[in-house]
Amino acid sequence: MTDVAIAAKSGEGLLKKRMASLSSSFSYDETAYHLPVSYALTGIAVHDPATAADAYTRAGDNPIIATECLLAQSAAGKEKEPAPYTGFVGDTVLRKLGYSLVDGSILGLALLVGTPQNAGLAAGICRELQEKYMLTFLAGKVVPALLENGIRLGPEYRLIPLGLTNAHGVHFVDIIARVAMMFGGIAPGDAGRLLTYAAERAKAIVIVFPGLSDEDIALVDAMRVLGFPIISLGSYTSDAWITVTPVDAVRRGMETKGIRVTVTAIPIPMACSPAFEGKSIRKEEMYVEFGGGRSPAFELLKMRGIDEIKDGQITVIGPEIDAMKEGSAHPLGIIIEVAGKSMKKDYEPVLERRIHNFVNYGEGSWHVAQRDIIWVRISKEAVAMGVKIKHIGRLLASKFRMDFPQLLDAVAVTLITDKEKVLAAKKEADNIYDERDARIKEMRDGDVDTYYSCTLCQTFAPNHVCVITPERPALCGAISWLDGKIAYEISPAGANQPIGKGALINAQNGEYEGVNRFVKKASHGEIDRCSLYSVMEYPMTCCGCFECIALMVPEVNGIMVVNREFKGVTPSGMTFSTLAGTIGGGAQTPGFAGISKNYILSDRFLQGEGGISRLVWMPTQIKDELKVRLVKKLTDQGNAGFFEKIADETSATTLEELCAFLDRVQHPALAMKPLV
């Protein structure tokens, strides 16, 4: 075993001695960056022993600079490296290479250095790097080993043999230094920014085989400061180098550096696109179905450790589709396990909801509802094209990876069709649903310091700003606080931005300095104040997507709610669409607010006006939809019986009828503080 720290120290000493022996002048051809590492780190154009010594000292006896100078000197005056070796890579080629990096056609860079234990092992690693769109540079005896094994080398194979010695690995660093100067706008000599650029932007890893001399170890170990993970396959001992088995080398390196392979096409025998999301599969078109009250079925998404699952693994437990009779119903369990550095347990339910969209993306697959009430169908047409249960798994695994590239590093899908096993797994799932409900239920606006904005609708409502809190979803009902949080993490420049709520201005209305500041800016200066829980004073602006409108009815001292689906005339004398036309477009209209349906169930609903007791009228459709949850909530609050006091279109269609109804039931709003 070689101790890296000791070897590097000795190597640094040896390099320092050799630096003193530099004699003649030297330079690279076809570059405007002199000796690129020296130039990038120190700003010194090295071309003779004196300038070399200056740069070397200035960079704190850096072994990379030493290796660069020594290699340049030994190459000076000689012919170019013999084929297939490239030696120093000129600027023109480099520009193309940098292009591919920015363009995304290569995902990252790898350096393989040393003498592999056997050629097959190195070949396997190269193949994996090729498959993962990495551009690989080779230095040392790894090159002849690959050639002997019949591996083709060259830029077209994304395998570039730099040179026969390990020291040629320094070209890997000079390439990255030049990419930083050409593409990153890093000024020569700005070592600080260079290191930041290398660490954050250069997606580079180093894989080390045995056979490194002390000098080579000093060189490779010095690359750590550039943020390259050093993946070791040799007998080196070091806290800083990552020792792995050959099969894990590429995966481990890419994961450590955060290089992600993006999925582009889904290999299943049916089309898959959001275009199919709206289609349904009718009974006659259906080959087989799952759940929907006909058989037990559920879906669950769980977070796992990165080492606990294998990315892209699809497991089907129980009969496949060919063992199912046409027109039959079968049990189904969909279990999605995901892992990722920035994945959090809180995201599970949000991601789980995407199963619905993704299954519907399949041309021949259909999905409704969620959790343990799902209903899934696969069409005859799809089955005729060869679609199997496992393809639904493939579809899900691929879509999750595609849509959440920043969040997920691995997705594994298990589909259970065996009845006993579905029932057993469903029990576990039910526990998890309960835990989640408890967690979400306890989430209060006061528990967090950060809310999220949504300005998606500014396309047509230019000054509209939604402020999304745990207890107040976006007015369209489509984006919860968690959704906003995840959307921001996935797309930091997107339409959902964090809002620090800042100092409290008015607790009852839910007005905060930070929110006001944000809304002022995001509304392009149009809106100065925004109270989160009030309809009457500085209500939130409305785009046009609101699920419901809450509006004051001054005659009865209350507030009514009307949902989008309600087509009739409300007691205010207006229909939903007339009202929507009056308040939308990004305006702030005191007395009117756009809200989501779920917000009606929130403790913050109408808080500014004294709470839900202000609610006087709401169409039957939404009353039915919310009834179970709302009655339970009211009962818990000791307000049982209030639900019946809310009028609807069957009890009141005009203002007069509404007044009479409210009088008759002795609605509490009548006795509350005057609204206006």
Partner: protein, 318 residues
């Protein structure tokens, strides 16, 4: 004038340099520095600020071009070099915008020919160029790489980056020091988002020109106008992510019903009139580059810009 034309605005529009003369490392006879404004256009009489540039659009495969231009220009459209020369010398354009329409053919793969087309136009005219590459993800990478490479040093304006398709163009701009067009679908926030994405990938602000997407006057231009107004106001109020010059190309003007169905004797007049008014409106909204396809539009716009700039109020437009 008795009032402040700057309205307390703080942020100037950033400048972008297009084209490079010999002394600047290119081969153009002129280079332009666009942007730099501190208020809305045409407000200041006799301003030292330059008028919008007029870019004449040509293409390397006229099958994809409006018939009215093909008829007017005749054989020229089959020879991209002659077309470019004529646009420069006869039509009086300030820039040439070359669309590599060949790339729109099914299964197109002759990438080297695209490099040659760019080189041909570079030698046919010494005006600064705008190059519109492919819009097919499979070949974008190669096409932009090639265009960027053959014109290294010429400071092209490359088009067109969109939110889901910007990496190849950004890469070409970065690798060969060109600028690029960032197009968003008539939406101030999306325009900003794309500029941020471009910045994150490494494109400097002074290499970005915003294309807010331009509808034809009467066919959606009012949306473009509103988006442009908002982009410019945000920029002037200090939002540096939107403080870039704008380019407008109301290309649909030549295919609208009024032009298509006009009597053949007045068709060119009709086409140029629609293009003129759409372009003029875009200039008033703040665009620094106006793109046109009908040769007769060029002198009309020039005359209008001149009279508006001098404040003579004598713009006689037909």
């Amino acid at each position: 004038m008795g009032f402040d034309l700057r309205f307390g605005w703080t942020g100037p529009i950033g400048a972008v340099t297009l084209g490079a003369t010999r002394s600047e490392g290119g081969t153009r006879r002129v280079s332009y520095r666009i942007g730099g404004g501190t208020t809305l256009p045409f407000l200041e009489y006799n301003s030292s600020h330059s008028s919008p540039l007029i870019a004449f659009e040509i293409c390397d495969n006229p099958v994809f071009w409006p018939p009215i231009v093909r008829n007017y220009c005749g054989d020229l459209v089959n020879n991209v070099e002659d077309w470019a020369k004529t646009a420069d010398a006869t039509y009086g354009a300030d820039m040439i915008r070359l669309y590599l329409t060949s790339t729109r053919q099914r299964n197109f793969s002759d990438i080297p020919a695209m490099g040659k087309a760019v080189e041909a136009v570079l030698s046919a005219t010494s005006l600064p160029l705008i190059i519109e590459g492919s819009n097919e993800p499979n070949i974008d990478s190669e096409v932009f790489q090639r265009c960027g490479e053959v014109a290294q040093g010429e400071r092209l304006l490359l088009g067109t980056a969109e939110a889901n398709r910007y990496r190849s163009i950004a890469a070409a701009a970065l690798a060969y020091n060109h600028s690029l067009i960032a197009q968003s679908p008539i939406d101030v926030n999306l325009a900003k988002q794309l500029n941020i994405l471009l910045r994150e990938i490494g494109v400097q602000r002074d290499h970005i020109v915003i294309d807010p997407y331009t509808g034809t006057l009467g066919y959606g231009f009012e949306y473009s106008y509103s988006a442009m107004e908002r982009i410019r106001f945000s920029a002037l109020k200090g939002d540096t992510d939107l403080a870039m010059p704008m380019i407008c190309s109301p290309t649909d003007t030549l295919t609208i019903k009024e032009v298509r169905e006009a009597e053949s004797s007045v068709q060119d007049e009709m086409a140029a009139t629609w293009e003129f008014y759409s372009g003029l409106a875009a200039a008033v909204a703040g665009a620094e580059i106006i793109c046109v396809r009908h040769p007769e539009t060029v002198p009309r716009l020039k005359e209008a810009f001149r009279s508006m700039k001098n404040g003579t109020g004598s713009a006689q437009v037909r």
